[in-house]
């Protein structure tokens, strides 16, 4: 991620924050507003970051992945299912149930990654098709099972949704979280922390290790990589599976960290926003994270502005229209992409099967 991009993104986030602070400062302390907005930004950005990291790994190795949405949705469902299954049927205490649930979510994502790799690398199925199949299949399977397991009377849980084991506990950073008011920013749940750590890990792996070099070689110029003895198919398989695991962790965020319940279609298109964040971030982990934060900040802007609807000065009346404010993240993205950042370059061999 280059300097120009980071500056623009900082300015935009600061701009969004300051508008709300300016409007709301008469009734609420600026620091409280800021804290609340940052907290919202981070939690909204968590699944987007993980989804975008998934995309980055897949596409850096040359496999397009539009199935992120389906991977997250399936992982959210199966992770949650595991946790309540353990908790309700086998009476495992909440925390281990949740942790095993997270593990199963990651596994689900990884397995779908394997499916994606199998179809697109081995069978050379068009990668867009493979991703689309995963999306439709995820919608169908999770909706179908959710109904069969929880709604029908003969289901294992007796037709009721059992009491879920709750959500993952908050981890507060000692010291920092003691800061008055602002300390709240340093109280986040484990997946949110992990996502941030993984951004840096991914950045290191992709750009500072042999593995990363090989991955990028396979994504840029598979033939050349092949000639120097890199196993193109193997690299693609592993990277797509890693990507799937990351999307799976993103899925776990929805049902095990955010709210203890599953809803059909609950990922609400965030997989596609992740895809946008990945491209926006120019296929780099740091860039993708920054893009996810912009989306998070825009969401925080939208929510917080509604709190202060009555305080909005009349000349800014358009800000009272929640639908108009709702356009912010999307128009911003388009403007940044078109005017400020410009051309993004995908890995050269992205989307094309490798034929020896």
């Amino acid at each position: 991620m280059d300097l120009k991009r980071s500056i623009f993104i900082t300015i935009i986030v600061a701009f969004l924050y300051s508008i709300v602070i300016l409007i709301g400062k008469d009734t609420t302390q600026p620091l409280i507003i800021l804290t609340s907005m940052i907290a919202t930004t981070i939690s909204v950005a968590t699944p987007l970051t993980l989804g975008a990291l998934c995309g980055t790994f897949c596409e850096r190795s040359g496999v397009t992945n539009i199935g992120i949405e389906g991977m997250m949705l399936s992982a959210a469902f199966f992770g949650w299912l595991t946790s309540i299954y353990l908790n309700t049927i086998y009476h495992v205490t909440p925390l281990p149930s949740l942790l095993i649930g997270v593990f199963v979510a990651i596994l689900t994502g990884g397995l779908l990654g394997l499916l994606h790799a199998w179809l697109s690398v081995t069978f050379k199925v068009d990668q867009i098709i493979s991703g689309t199949v995963i999306n439709i299949l995820a919608t169908g399977v999770t909706g179908f099972l959710n109904r069969q397991l929880f709604f029908e009377k003969g289901s294992i849980f007796g037709g009721n949704v059992p009491h879920a084991p709750g959500t993952l506990p908050i981890i507060a950073i000692p010291g920092l979280s003691q800061i008055p008011v602002f300390g709240k920013v340093f109280e986040q749940q484990p997946i949110a922390w992990t996502a941030i750590i993984l951004v840096f890990v991914a950045n290191f792996v992709l750009f500072r290790t042999r593995w990363g070099l090989r991955t990028r070689a396979v994504g840029e110029h598979p033939r050349a990589a092949d000639t120097v003895g890199i196993n193109v198919s193997f690299m693609r398989y592993i990277n797509v599976i890693i990507g799937g695991c990351l999307a799976g962790l993103g899925g776990a965020y929805f049902t095990l960290e955010s709210v203890p319940s599953f809803e059909p279609l609950m990922t609400n298109g965030r997989g596609f926003i992740s895809l946008a964040a990945m491209i926006f971030g120019n296929w780099t982990p740091l860039g993708a994270w920054a893009a996810a934060l912009v989306f998070g900040a825009a969401q925080a802007f939208q929510i917080n502005l509604q709190f202060f609807r009555d305080l909005i000065p009349p000349q800014w009346a358009f800000l009272q229209q929640s639908y108009i404010v709702g356009l912010t993240p999307y128009i911003l993205t388009m403007i940044i992409l078109a005017g400020l950042i410009g051309r993004t370059t995908s890995p050269a061999a992205d989307g094309t099967p490798y034929e020896k």
């Binding site: 199949v133 993205t333 051309r343």
Partner: protein, 379 residues
């Protein structure tokens, strides 16, 4: 990109149908559908449903009566338009995920033209003209909605996948704003976010009384032919396909790639906008705030299933439409969740595209040539 692909495929001269061609073009997809249905049957059976009854319901609901057939075409029309839209994009090397937004905006624009124009002109508009205006304005709105990402791609290199996704959300918000505010049906009894009914003169008349089968379906079929003709018989089509296969080669061949991208995206958007406009002028006579029916996303699957060929899109649309339409009767008979339809559709798409799996199951020889559907989003 392989060298062979630089040369756009010219229409192949008719050749005598031989066994292998028959197998490749017709038998493999049919076997794929059959395989998906068998797997679907297993799933239904596994959860305690009766697959025979379910499929009986599906067939009856889709084809069992004249009304059922008519309803299937009602479902198929927007699928065909939107599927063609995505296919045209793919042919031009562009991935249009924005069908949903283009469709919604086309519908909003067409309904505006349908109810507001007579008031603006202070005159009755002759029916044919009013219909053409409404449909035309709907198409134009879709074209603009698709054209903007196309323009941005051509001028700044901004990726059309991001921009079409963004335009979907923008359309969603703007539509909500318009239908809740300026364009809301003002009649006192109305509580729904929807436009007023369009004028009688803007309504495409029904063909048969009491059936919802409408001209939109016929137009869709005609347009499928039109798109085929455009893509394979005209210079513009040649340019779109060449740009889609290899923009660099297209540039060397003297094609204005930027212009072609804008045209292809606008055309794609116009087709999606038309899907919305026809729903308004021929079926609903107004636009109602979307419980999004997901045409834009289904259209991607349809275009891929139809291998981006207009005839394939028509067949895939009919298949999807029959399944969606038949689902009511299936659910009525068996009470299994309609999600089973999504599962079967995903499996069909999987087996049709991963034909190696089908060929392996049924021991059919693999053909020599490979078909490229999309190019991902490499350069």
């Amino acid at each position: 990109m392989d060298k062979e692909n630089l040369k756009p495929q010219e229409p192949t001269p008719p050749e005598p149908i031989n066994d292998s061609k028959f197998i490749n073009i017709y038998l493999v997809p049919i076997l794929a559908v059959v395989t998906a249905l068998i797997l679907g049957a297993f799933i239904i059976w596994w959860v305690g449903g009766n697959p025979l009854l379910a499929y009986k319901g599906l067939l009856q609901g889709a084809f069992g009566s004249v009304r059922a057939l008519s309803e299937t075409t009602v479902w198929a029309s927007p699928y065909i338009f939107a599927g063609l839209a995505v296919a045209v994009g793919f042919k031009g090397g562009l991935f249009n995920i924005g069908g949903e937004g283009q469709l919604a905006f086309g519908a909003v624009a067409a309904s505006w033209a349908g109810y507001a124009l007579p008031g603006i002109f202070h005159a009755q508009i002759p029916p044919i003209l009013h219909i053409l205006l409404s449909v035309g304005i709907g198409m134009l709105a879709g074209a603009i909605w698709g054209g903007i990402p196309g323009y941005l791609k051509a001028k700044t290199g901004a990726h059309e996948v991001i921009n079409t996704i963004m335009m979907n959300y923008i359309a969603l918000n703007l539509t909500s704003f318009l239908l809740n505010g300026p364009m809301k049906d003002p009649s006192p009894s109305n509580v729904i976010a929807r436009t007023p009914l369009i004028a009688e003169s803007a309504r495409i008349p029904a063909i048969f009384p009491n059936y919802r089968f409408h001209w939109g379906f016929i137009l869709a079929l005609a347009l499928a032919f039109g798109v085929w003709w455009l893509l394979w018989k005209t210079r513009l089509g040649f340019e779109i396909r060449t740009t889609g296969l290899n923009p660099d080669a297209a540039k060397y061949a003297g094609i204005d790639v930027a212009k072609t991208i804008v045209i292809a995206m606008s055309l794609s958007g116009a087709l999606a906008g038309l899907a919305g406009a026809i729903e308004v002028t021929a079926l609903n006579y107004r636009h109602e705030l979307g419980f999004s029916s997901g045409y834009g996303f289904d259209a991607i699957a349809i275009a891929l299933l139809g291998k981006n060929h207009p005839l394939g899109v028509v067949l895939a649309s009919l298949l999807f439409a029959a399944m969606r339409n038949g689902a009511t009767k299936m659910q009525f008979l068996t009470q299994i969740p309609v999600d089973i339809i999504s599962i079967i559709q995903a499996l069909i798409l999987l087996f049709v595209s991963a034909d190696a799996i089908v060929r392996y199951i049924y021991r059919i020889r693999t053909p020599q040539e490979r078909v490229v559907y999309t190019r991902g989003w490499g350069k």
